[in-house]
Every structure is written in structure tokens, then in C-alpha cells.
């Protein structure tokens, strides 16, 4: 069973549908203690970083404990940004801090000084940086669907970058923690392949 964390940031319908299409057993825990029984955790979310503050100390402790027991975690969009130390979007709201670096707003300017629209909305290509369980079988330059204004930095944990005026982390992976800035549940076959890869890292017996 996979725990899909609902902290009120956007609707979970699409994420649930995508996992259901892949025959994954999904539950939305009502209390932090329910995470204990889950074999993996998915943190979705769209919108403002401050929304992650709804994940109070008990939720954070339960998610950390799940990671500590080696269970996979996937952050999607805002859920991925939350894995970092924090974000300029809500400076006084700490992230989970399991990945190094801070999120900041897309500059909205490309290398030629041309201005670009922010938010970054639509399909953009993945520039694969290294191997990772989460990107197994994903073709270089595959396109996925983004919608965001803030971005996570490119670090050693970055598996794939995308570019909107500047490169940013599109897929991260560190041990059994992974995150995607885009919406795999809305990214067609490529998105489903990435979710399937995540499910393969989950030990279903737990």
C-alpha cells in the first residue's frame, strides 16, 4: 500500500487515477500514524510552498521515519520542492531538507536576455544527466507536462534537467528518495513509465 499525502494543496484525483491505471494500491492516510503501514510515500501538490506548512511536525516525523526505514518516497511538483531545504516562495517555511539546496523563482529571462513567461506551463523536454531507477527506459529528450513558477536547483541529486530560460531540476533521485517537478500523471506514456519505475522500487510485501 502506498500512502498518498493529502495536505490540501490541489486535488489528488489525477494522481490517484494514474496510480489506479497502474494497478497500485493507494491510500490517503487520515493520520500520520497510518504512514507506518505504507510501503512507500507519495507527496503530490501544486500551488504555494506555504501550503506545505499544513504538514505539521507529526506528519514530517512520520515521513522521515518511513524514509529512515528505507521505504521509497516520490515528491511530485510542489511535493518535490518540499524535499529541499526551503523555497524563496515562503522563506519562513522550512522544507523537509532531505535534499540540499533551496528553491527559487524562475528568472523568466533566457541567455539572450529575452523575457519568457512565468509560470512555465506546458510540455518541455528532459535532459537526462545520469542513470536513475526513476528514469529507466525513458528516452532522451522525452517531453513531460510542467506547470510551476518556482524551481529546484541542479545538484548532484539531479537525474534530469529541463530548461525555461535556465536549467532547473526536473527529476531528482537520492537513494530511495525521488522527485519530479512535472506532472507524471498528466505526461502521457512517458509520465506513466516514470510512475511505473517508481512502483518497481516499492517492496509490496511491506
Amino acid at each position: 500500500m502506498i500512502a498518498l499525502i493529502d495536505y490540501g494543496a490541489g486535488n489528488l484525483t489525477s494522481v490517484r487515477k494514474a496510480f489506479a491505471a497502474l494497478d497500485a494500491d493507494i491510500c490517503v492516510p487520515a493520520a500520520p500514524a497510518d504512514i507506518e503501514r505504507a510501503s512507500a510515500v507519495v507527496v503530490p501538490g501544486v500551488g504555494h510552498f506555504a501550503a506545505t506548512a499544513a504538514l505539521g511536525p507529526e506528519w514530517v516525523a512520520a515521513i522521515r521515519s518511513s524514509i529512515g526505514r528505507g521505504r521509497p518516497l516520490l515528491g511530485i511538483c510542489l511535493g518535490m520542492q518540499w524535499l529541499f531545504e526551503g523555497s524563496d516562495e515562503a522563506a519562513d517555511c522550512p522544507g523537509l531538507g532531505v535534499l540540499a539546496g533551496r528553491c527559487r523563482r524562475l528568472s523568466g529571462v533566457d541567455a539572450q536576455g529575452q523575457s519568457l513567461k512565468v509560470p512555465h506551463v506546458g510540455w518541455n523536454s528532459l535532459g537526462l544527466q545520469r542513470d536513475g531507477a526513476i528514469v529507466a527506459g525513458v528516452a532522451p529528450e522525452s517531453q513531460v507536462y510542467f506547470t510551476h513558477s518556482f524551481m529546484a536547483p541542479v545538484t548532484g541529486d539531479t537525474v534530469a534537467v529541463s530548461e525555461h530560460g535556465e536549467p532547473f531540476a526536473a527529476i531528482v533521485e537520492r537513494g530511495r528518495i525521488s522527485g519530479v517537478q512535472f506532472h507524471p500523471e498528466k505526461s502521457g506514456d512517458v509520465g506513466l513509465a516514470i510512475l511505473r519505475n517508481f512502483l518497481r522500487t516499492v517492496d509490496v510485501d511491506r
Binding site: 490541489g10 489525477s14 487515477k17 513567461k117 512565468v118 509560470p119 506546458g122 518541455n124 530548461e163
Partner: protein, 260 residues
């Protein structure tokens, strides 16, 4: 690089896709789930389901249509037409819509934009603007054009200008603008590029151009001169005049970034 999006619009009435000209004279174009499947196979980037019915019973049929499409397609799905209240939007989202498109209701009650943006995020809120040039007004690129915004499917003047209204919608929390030229709707003579460019320059959120697609060249025009971030079409795809795939190949050949 961010791709320009190609969006197929399904105008649904009584569970069937229909299409008219200048917002009138509807004819049937098939089953929505079947069309959605075909477009997905051809590489459509996004789908819009527009409910052009009005009654409560038919709204239930719409929810079934949304469910049928959302169950098997994993690309962004927007739903519009007749969304007047937060409850209407919630029903569409519950059925599987990723975005809701507001038109008349946003004009009548602009705070609905903010309410929905706070509840679902700005990315889930499209403000659809149906606009028409003043009679006899020439198209002058860069000129001080006025684009009158209409409510109720082009039936009544709202008293607003498209550029001003787009700016206000953005400020109130809209995540995208769907701009339809009433003059061009269904005519296949090309998008209103000057109008699209005027709105696109005025806002930072994406602008989806709609109304008038007839040839592959029209799409090149709206993505270059029209500064559109996405283009929406219905007739050109429904009657298989152009496949989504061949349109995208044409765009790529002309230097427009697309997802192929």
C-alpha cells in the same frame, strides 16, 4: 525548450461532439471519448471539453463524458461551459478535470476566479474570453484596437475590453487565458493574430488562441506573429482535415517547438 501546445476542443451536447460556425449552426462530429482517444494517439497535448448544453440532466451526462475521457487519457484535461459556481467547478474536478474554464460566470462574478484559484491553484483556472472586433474595424498590428468581450456564448456584450479583462483575470488568479475570436470561430480563415498578440503581450500567463484555424499555416502564424503559447482547434481535427501529427511536423519544419 517549452513546446507550443496544440489543444483539441470537444464541444459536447447531448453526449455528442458538435461544431458550428460563428457560434451557430451546429453539426455532429462524433463520440467524445472516441475522438479524445484518436487525438491522444495522434499526439494532442491537451483536451478541452466544452459543455454547450444547459439543462441539469445533460450536465450529468457531461460528468460521465469527463469520467470516460479522464479514465484512460493522462494528459491535461480542461472542462468549461456552464461553470457558474464553486460547486459546478468541484463537480468537474471530481469527475477528472485538471482545469476548469470560466467565461460568463467570471464576467458576472470575477471573485469566482480567486475562489477557485485558492481552492485548486491558479494552474487549474482558465479564464475564457470570447471577443469580437468592432464592426468594420480594420486589423492593424500594434494599433489601438478594441476587442469587445461577449458573455453567454457570444450573445451579450459585457462592456469589457479583451486586453483589460485578461490583465484583470491574471491579477485575480487565473492561470491561463483562452482567447476566442468570435469573428473567426469556425470560419477557417485563420486566427486573429493581432488580437492574440495584444492579449499575450499584456499578461505573463499563457494565452491559448482559438477561432479560425483552417490551414497548417494559420498555426505557424498564431505561434509567431500571434505570440500564442497554445492553439486550440476543433473543426480542423474533427473532420480529419488535418491530423495532429502532420500539423506538428509542419510546425517543427517552420521552427516552432512542438512535442512530437
Amino acid at each position: 525548450m517549452l513546446s507550443k501546445r496544440i489543444i483539441a476542443c470537444l464541444d459536447v451536447r447531448n453526449g455528442q461532439v458538435v461544431k458550428g460556425v460563428n457560434f451557430e449552426g451546429l453539426r455532429s462530429a462524433g463520440n467524445p471519448a472516441e475522438l479524445a482517444r484518436r487525438y491522444n494517439r495522434e499526439g494532442i497535448d491537451e483536451l478541452v471539453i466544452l459543455d454547450i448544453t444547459a439543462t441539469i440532466e445533460q450536465r450529468q451526462a457531461l460528468a460521465d463524458t469527463i469520467r470516460a475521457v479522464a479514465r484512460e487519457l493522462f494528459i491535461p484535461l480542461a472542462v468549461g461551459g456552464g461553470i457558474r459556481t464553486e460547486a459546478d467547478a468541484a463537480a468537474a474536478v471530481e469527475a477528472g478535470a485538471d482545469k476548469v474554464s470560466l467565461n460568463t460566470a467570471a464576467l458576472a462574478n470575477p471573485s469566482l476566479i480567486t475562489t477557485l484559484a485558492q481552492r485548486y491553484g491558479s494552474q487549474a483556472v482558465i479564464v475564457a474570453i470570447d471577443a469580437k472586433r468592432a464592426p468594420g474595424q480594420a486589423e492593424v498590428a500594434g494599433g489601438d484596437d478594441h476587442f469587445a468581450v461577449y458573455a453567454r456564448s457570444g450573445q451579450s456584450l459585457s462592456g469589457r475590453d479583451a486586453v483589460e479583462w485578461a490583465r484583470e483575470a491574471e491579477a485575480r488568479g487565473a492561470g491561463e487565458i483562452l482567447l476566442t475570436s468570435i469573428d473567426r470561430d469556425g470560419t477557417k480563415i485563420g486566427f486573429d493574430c493581432p488580437m492574440t498578440a495584444a492579449v499575450s503581450r499584456a499578461v505573463s500567463i499563457p494565452v491559448i488562441a482559438s477561432g479560425g484555424a483552417g490551414t497548417l499555416e494559420h498555426f505557424v502564424d498564431v505561434f509567431t506573429g500571434g505570440r500564442a503559447d497554445a492553439a486550440l482547434a476543433a473543426s480542423i481535427f474533427h473532420y480529419a482535415e488535418t491530423s495532429v501529427h502532420s500539423l506538428k511536423q509542419h510546425l517543427r519544419q517552420h521552427g516552432v517547438p512542438v512535442r512530437l
